[in-house]
């Protein structure tokens, strides 16, 4: 009896694949309608241009040879602009609603008022760039925004951003609010066909 069970057990042990699907989820920009004129003028200081060439080298803000591990800090500085540098993006004052009483650092009505960056990242790659490099660049950009969101979340709500549960309406509102403050503004120019991301 035990022998047969053993045999089956070993079969299932071998056949089992326990891989959980993981990855970076992104939203592709929709194809614009034909009659829609899609030319938004963006101030030059508000764009962080990231170029990847065919030999997987980076050029960020006109500087050639940036390493991938420097990109996260550059992106974070770009979005926060701590010293109000005129070369880094403008900010606009915005009001974002959080659930009332969710944080002691917010007024009683839960409205956050503060500066939101107008920055946009423009990512452009060559057709010969390898996918691995492209994805690690994407990863650094996503990591920068995630860190900013997480810092904000810790400061105001004393919680990790990732631990907020979307099925809980209050925490979902918090998450949506933080997303409005730190937007994942990455526009990808695709060779020949330039599409903006909103």
């Amino acid at each position: 009896m035990a022998d047969i069970a053993f045999l089956l057990l070993i079969f299932f042990l071998v056949a089992t694949t326990m891989d959980i699907d993981t990855g970076i989820t992104r939203l592709l920009p929709p194809i614009p309608e034909k009659d829609q004129v899609d030319q938004v003028q963006i101030n030059k200081r508000n764009i962080l241009v990231v170029l990847i060439n065919r030999t997987n080298q980076l050029m960020v803000r006109g500087e050639f040879g940036t390493r991938i591990d420097e990109l996260k800090d550059i992106t974070m500085e770009f979005f926060t602009n701590p010293g109000n540098n005129p070369d880094l993006p403008e900010k606009e004052i915005k009001e974002v609603n959080f659930p009332p009483g969710s944080s002691t650092l917010l007024p009683a009505d839960g409205v956050w008022r503060g500066n939101v960056s107008k920055g946009v990242i423009s990512l452009q790659n060559d057709r010969s760039t390898t996918y691995g490099t492209y994805l690690s660049v994407q990863n650094e950009l996503v990591a920068a925004v995630n860190t900013l969101r997480n810092d904000f979340c810790k400061q105001y709500f004393d919680k990790e951003y990732d631990e907020l549960n979307e099925s809980n309406p209050i925490e979902k509102d918090i998450k949506d609010g933080i997303r409005k403050i730190y937007k994942m503004n990455i526009s990808e120019a695709i060779p020949k066909d330039i599409g903006g991301r909103k």
């Binding site: 699907d21 993981t22 010969s128 990591a143 695709i190």
Partner: protein
């Protein structure tokens, strides 16, 4: 004292194994239940990149897979070593523009989904890290045309530089 000296030198007592089948069966059932048989055979070599910011994909029923990679060794003689696209279980030659095939694939996958979930469809792109982006961009354009806008770049969690 004779009582004690008798047990000496007899060796270890036998372990009672009568409950062993129960334990084995329990393990067996666990693995039987948790096993998901691989539904599609992958014809291309895919080694997804390792990155730090991965998220888990919830709700497998919403996910369709597109693989991009070089053909596996046994198929190299048939297809050569140029990158190819695999849509679920169908290999597509990408000499031309794969746009139509990808769009048909998305439409048929969407057709098979429940009515209320059609706009939540996720395309998981399992792409080998050495593939040039040209192929990937073609697929992305095709997905935009097919209005499948939620995509997931499949990647494994990179634990090596966590402290960064």
């Amino acid at each position: 004292m004779a009582k004690f000296s008798r047990t000496k030198g007899k060796g270890a007592p036998k372990i009672n194994t009568s409950s062993l089948p129960d334990i084995i069966f329990m393990l067996l059932f666990f693995f039987m239940v948790s096993t998901t048989m691989r539904e599609t055979e992958v014809f291309v070599k895919v080694k997804v990149p390792e990155v730090t910011e991965v998220k888990k994909l919830e709700q497998k029923s919403l996910v369709s897979y597109i693989y991009i990679g070089r053909p596996s060794r046994s198929l190299e003689s048939v297809y050569g070593s140029e990158p190819m696209i695999q849509l679920n279980d169908k290999l597509v030659n990408v000499e031309g523009i794969p746009a139509d095939e990808v769009q048909d694939f998305v439409l048929s996958e969407r057709e098979a989904m429940a009515e209320d979930q059609k706009n939540k469809m996720v395309i998981s792109l399992r792409i080998d890290s050495d593939i040039p982006m040209g192929k990937v961009d073609d697929v992305k354009q095709a997905l935009r045309k097919a209005k499948a806008l939620i995509i997931n770049y499949s990647a494994r969690k990179d634990y090596s530089n966590k402290g960064r």
